[in-house]
C-alpha cells in the first residue's frame, strides 16, 4: 500500500539520518564552542506575532485557526521566532546574547521545482553586538561551521542591504518606482533594471551605468576602490561600512574566504547593513545566508543591534556529499 505525503516534505531513512545526525552534531558543537547556547521554539506561533517581524517576503504560508479561534502560523524561518523569544525572555539580560538553533521551518512551494515545504536550518543569532565587530564574529562562526561540514572551498559573499535603497534615494527615486527597481535587483534582472532606470525622468545615463556597474562588482578588497570611483555619498557610506566589516574580519583572520559583493540583495524584509550569502563550488544553489537586522528587535519592543546566519541543512548535506566524492561531475 502506498500512502502519499505532501509534495515538498520527505521521510529520512537510517543511512541518510546517520549522516545528517553527524552534520547536526558537528554544527552544534561549533556553535557551542563559540559560546552560542542552543534554543528551540515552537513550530507554530501566533500569526500576528510572526507578522510583526516580517510582514513581507518570507511571510508564513501555512496558517490555520485553533480551537479557540486564534490564527496560528507555521514559522517560515528561525530568526523571527528568536527575536520574539529574546524580547520576551531576555529583556533585561546582559548583552551580547549568543543563541543558536537547529530546526525546521515551512514555506510555500511551487509545484515541480523540487522545492521543500519543510526544510531544516541551523544557525546563530548574536544579539546586542553592533557592526562591525558583531558581524565579524558571526562570519567567524560561519566559517568554522563550514569547515566542520567539510566545505573547505565554500565562499561567503559580503554585501550591504542599504546600498541601493540609499543610492536610489540619492538619485531622487522614491516610492513605487524605487520598490520596483529594488525588486528587479533582488530578482537579478539587470536588463529590466537598466530599462526601468533609463525611463525615469531626472536619472542620467551615467547614473544608470553606475547602478549597473555597481551591481556587478564582486571580488576582493579592490572592488571597494572600484565602487568608490563611481562616486556618490550612498556608495561612499556603503563601501565604508563594508570596509570596516572587512577590516574587522581581517583582524580576526577570517577574511580569506569572504568575497565582497556590491550586487547582493537578500529578499527577506528585515535586513539592514551587512548581508551574507554562502556558496560552494559543489552546488549550483546558495547554501545559506544572513547578515545584520538592527531594526528587527525594535519591532518586538527592544532596540538592540543583531546579526546572524542560517544554513540550509539539506543543501549543506548535498554539497558535503559532493565534496567527499572528490568534486567529480555526476554524469
Amino acid at each position: 500500500m502506498i500512502h502519499p505525503i505532501p509534495p515538498g516534505t520527505r521521510d529520512v531513512l537510517p543511512d541518510e539520518m546517520r549522516e545528517l545526525r553527524r552534520l547536526h552534531l558537528a554544527l552544534i558543537e561549533v556553535f557551542e564552542r563559540h559560546g552560542y547556547g542552543e534554543v528551540a521554539t515552537p513550530a507554530i506561533e501566533y500569526d500576528e506575532v510572526l507578522a510583526r517581524g516580517d510582514g513581507r517576503a518570507a511571510g508564513s504560508a501555512y496558517r490555520f485557526f485553533d480551537e479557540s479561534g486564534d490564527l496560528l502560523a507555521l514559522r517560515s524561518d528561525m530568526t523571527v521566532p528568536i527575536a520574539r523569544l529574546v524580547a520576551t525572555r531576555y529583556g533585561g539580560a546582559e548583552m551580547p546574547l549568543r543563541l543558536c538553533y537547529l530546526g525546521n521551518a515551512f514555506r510555500a512551494v511551487r509545484p515541480q521545482r523540487g522545492q521543500m515545504r519543510e526544510f531544516a536550518q541551523a544557525g546563530v543569532e548574536l544579539i546586542g553586538a553592533p557592526a562591525p565587530g558583531g558581524t565579524a564574529e558571526v562570519v567567524e562562526v560561519l566559517e568554522a561551521a563550514l569547515d566542520a561540514a567539510g566545505l573547505n572551498r565554500a565562499v561567503i559573499g559580503l554585501g550591504d542591504a542599504d546600498l541601493y535603497r540609499q543610492l536610489l534615494a540619492e538619485l531622487g527615486v522614491e516610492g513605487e518606482a524605487r520598490e520596483s527597481l529594488l525588486e528587479r535587483l533582488a530578482g537579478h534582472d539587470l536588463v529590466g533594471l537598466e530599462a526601468e532606470l533609463s525611463e525615469l525622468e531626472g536619472v542620467e545615463d551615467a547614473q544608470v551605468a553606475t547602478c549597473i556597474t555597481l551591481s556587478q562588482l564582486r571580488g576582493g578588497r579592490e572592488v571597494l576602490e572600484e565602487a568608490r570611483a563611481l562616486g556618490g555619498s550612498a556608495v561612499e557610506r556603503a563601501t565604508a561600512r563594508i570596509g570596516e566589516t572587512f577590516e574587522a574580519l581581517e583582524a580576526r583572520g577570517v577574511a580569506d574566504r569572504v568575497q565582497i559583493d556590491l550586487g547582493l540583495l537578500r529578499d527577506l524584509g528585515y535586513y539592514s547593513g551587512a548581508i551574507l550569502e554562502v556558496y560552494d563550488p559543489a552546488l549550483g544553489h546558495v547554501l545559506g545566508g544572513g547578515g545584520r537586522y538592527d531594526t528587527l528587535l525594535e519591532r518586538f519592543g527592544i532596540d538592540l543591534p543583531a546579526a546572524g546566519f542560517a544554513l540550509y541543512l539539506e543543501r549543506v548535506h548535498v554539497a558535503q556529499t559532493e565534496e567527499e566524492a572528490g568534486g567529480e561531475v555526476k554524469t
Binding site: A57, A58, R107, V109, R110, R113, G114, Q115, M116, F119, R153, V155, G157, G187, H188, D189, L190, V191, G192, Q216, R218, G219, Q259, D261, D267, L268, E277, Y279, D280, P281, A282, L283, G284, H285, V286, Y312, E314, R315, V318, E322, G327, V329, K330
Partner: protein
C-alpha cells in the same frame, strides 16, 4: 527564496564554462554571435545528433529554449541564452539576467479571429474570455494586471487552431512576422510585451566564476552592439 534540493547539481568550478544554447528559432543567431566572439561553433552547426560540444574555453550544451532556465538555475549549465518569453513564463526561476542580446525579436500578443467580436462579446456577456496559450502564466498576469477575467487554456502545439474550431475566443502567443496569424485568419488585438534573446547566469557561477562570467558578458555585449 527558492529551496530545492532534489534538483541540486554540481556547478563545477573547474573546466570550461558550460553555456546552454537554445535549439530552434534562436539557434542560428546564437551560433552567429558565438562565432563573432571567437567560439568554435562548426560542430554544433553540423548534422551531429550530439547535445554537448566541447570547444576551447567553453562547452556548448544544446537544449530546448524552455529548458535553459531549469539547467542554469540548478547550476548544471553555468550560463545560458534563451528568449525573454521563456524567462517571463518561468519568472520564479532564480537566474541572473545579465544581457539583452537584441536578436530573436518578437512580440507576445493577444490575437483573435479577423473581424470576429468573440473576444469582446464573451467579455461583455460572460464577463470572461477563454484564452488558449503556451504561456499560461504570462497570459494570466497580463489579464490580471489589466483587470479582466479569463479562463486560460494551456495547449502545447499550434495555438492558432484553438479559436478556429472554438476551443477559445482568442490566443496569447509569440509573433515574429505575423504571417502564421495572417494565414490562419487571425489578427493582433493587443501587444503584451516585446521579447528578445537574453544572456543568463547561474547564481553561484556568477559569484564563484566571476571573472569568466564577466569576460563572456563583456564580449557578448560588444558583439550584440
Amino acid at each position: 527564496m527558492s529551496l530545492e534540493v532534489a534538483g541540486a547539481v554540481q556547478a563545477k568550478a573547474e573546466g570550461p564554462l558550460k553555456l546552454a544554447v537554445p535549439r530552434g528559432a534562436l539557434l542560428g543567431e546564437t551560433l552567429e554571435i558565438l562565432d563573432r566572439i571567437g567560439v568554435e561553433t562548426s560542430e554544433a552547426r553540423g548534422e551531429s545528433r550530439s547535445l554537448i560540444f566541447p570547444t576551447e574555453g567553453i562547452t556548448l550544451v544544446t537544449m530546448r529554449p524552455s529548458d535553459v532556465p531549469t539547467y542554469v538555475e540548478a547550476g548544471a549549465a553555468d550560463v545560458g541564452i534563451t528568449g525573454k518569453d521563456v524567462l517571463l513564463e518561468q519568472h520564479d526561476r532564480v537566474v541572473y539576467e545579465l544581457l539583452d542580446l537584441g536578436y530573436g525579436r518578437c512580440r507576445m500578443v493577444l490575437a483573435g479571429r479577423k473581424g470576429d467580436e468573440k473576444l469582446g462579446e464573451s467579455a461583455r456577456r460572460l464577463g470572461m474570455m477563454r484564452i488558449a496559450t503556451k504561456y499560461p502564466r504570462v497570459a494570466e498576469r497580463h489579464f490580471e494586471s489589466t483587470g479582466r477575467q479569463v479562463e486560460v487554456i494551456e495547449v502545447k502545439g499550434s495555438v492558432e487552431l484553438a479559436p478556429l474550431i472554438g476551443l477559445a475566443d482568442g490566443i496569447v502567443d509569440l509573433v515574429a512576422s505575423g504571417r502564421t496569424l495572417d494565414e490562419n485568419d487571425l489578427e493582433v488585438r493587443e501587444e503584451i510585451v516585446e521579447c528578445t534573446a537574453r544572456f543568463v547566469a547561474n547564481r553561484v557561477a556568477h559569484k564563484l566564476r566571476a571573472r569568466e562570467v564577466d569576460e563572456l558578458t563583456a564580449k557578448l555585449r560588444e558583439a550584440a552592439g
